[in-house]
Amino acid sequence: MVSSIRIWKNQLFILLVYLSGFITVSLLFLGFILLLSKGFQSLSLEFLLSPMREGGISGGIFYQILGTLILAITTLFIVFPLSMGFALVKSIYIQKAFVKKTMELFLYILNGIPSVLFGIFGFFFFVKYLGWGKSWFTGGFLLAMMILPTTTLALSEGINRISSEYIENGLALGMRKTQIIFSIILPQSFSSFLSGVLLGLARAVGETAPIMFTATIFSGATIPTGVKESPILSLPYHIFNLVQESYHPQALSNAWGSSLVLIMLVILISGIALPFRLRAHEEAKV
């Protein structure tokens, strides 16, 4: 009978879907358990709040956390206006389909560039050519460039989801374009935008490649005092170095601890994004 074969195929397929879902989730879970068991022992308040000593063998990771936070906040401040401007121009001001498609293509290409290329480009262009030097600002700028596609696409997706009725009603009430942008478009796409920004940021804080040549050093930096030539320490680069160069068991254990902190930071940022993501879905249903 045909139908019984179809039912059988259907069930096999469902089984495969569940199986692959299960494999992915359990790999993720195993990784996290491993990280937790290895990293937890070096975790303490002192570890979080004191500066590194003896090249990472002892002491904590205070300035690494601070540096990563500085990078994240800089990225946030740069990516916010840039992607907002970009998305508004793309979704509202430009009517020509060809230009829109070209901009979209540009964003997808930017999205596909390996992060190490951002690092190399940033090093030659910003650090050397423009003379910004290794600095938190250069790093934040590059990370912002790196997540710009994610945030811009999230915002324009949010904008495109706004029912054209709202815009039409605003126009019919005699509102100008800027008034419509500020009282209809931005408020209504803000949740998808914010969730896009936070998810992009969660990815950016874990990146090593774009910042290792442009923003961060392994030791000797504390709180930045200027914009140019003021490098910082950072969690990803710290982990990278401890694992690379040290055979000391304590250094390795500190690397696990730092990794756990970094992962928790990423989870925290994604966690903040979650309610906005849900609200954006909620709004899309209306």
């Binding site: 029912s163 009725e165 709202y166 009603n169 009430l173 005699g174 509102m175 100008r176 209809i184």
Partner: protein, 258 residues
Amino acid sequence: MTNLHSSKVLSVKNISVSAGDEPIVKDVSFDLYSNEILTLMGPSGSGKSTLLRVLNRLADLESKLNVTGDVTCCGKSIFENYSIYFLRKKIGLVFQKPCIFPGSIMRNVLFGVRHHLKLDRKEADGLAEEVLKKAHLWDEVKDRLNKSASILSLGQKQRLCFARVLAADPEILLLDEPTSSLDPHSTHEIEEALLEMKQTKSIILVTHQLAQGRRVSDRIVFLSSKEGVGRLIEQGSVEDLVSCPKTKELKRYLISEV
């Protein structure tokens, strides 16, 4: 009745609208006089809503739609001699389907007007009360002005949109089936309000209820829809059109109405 001293406020001349190659409305001409209610009738799909959208310039700026012909308002072309923002304040359009912005009832009432006028708190409250009363919604919402507007019933939303348009105090009102979701009593109240507003405004009313047209309007413009294209086939006073329709389309419309 249109009195002899009233003047033309809006003059629609040979308006045709098409979407790409598909004609929607063809060669429509009529006038609107001051202090009159003109009813636009016609079968579904004959282009009534589209015509209203031409009049406050939503249609000709839509890239898909192609509008030819002219509309003059007080003798000047709306396409050439008006700032689009000024025109839309002067000609208010209440859409067929109510659209409520996220936020409170108060926010919705003041949504457009707060960009045009600098209102302090007291003036804003006063204006909101005034227009909500005119739209016969005040009693139902006066205790929850700061609550979300999205929970209102469809008929309440319709009146809220009406109030929102009234807030800008337009000289010409375009109403697209403003009572389609209302009970007879609220319908009656809105009709009373329209008759009162007629003292200071001119109104184009789209309705499917012939009885409503008879109750409130001075003149009727009837559109037919042949092969999907709307054409103006008859216009005149209510009595003339109802008692002796000249075209078979209107006759058929009138018969099925009863």
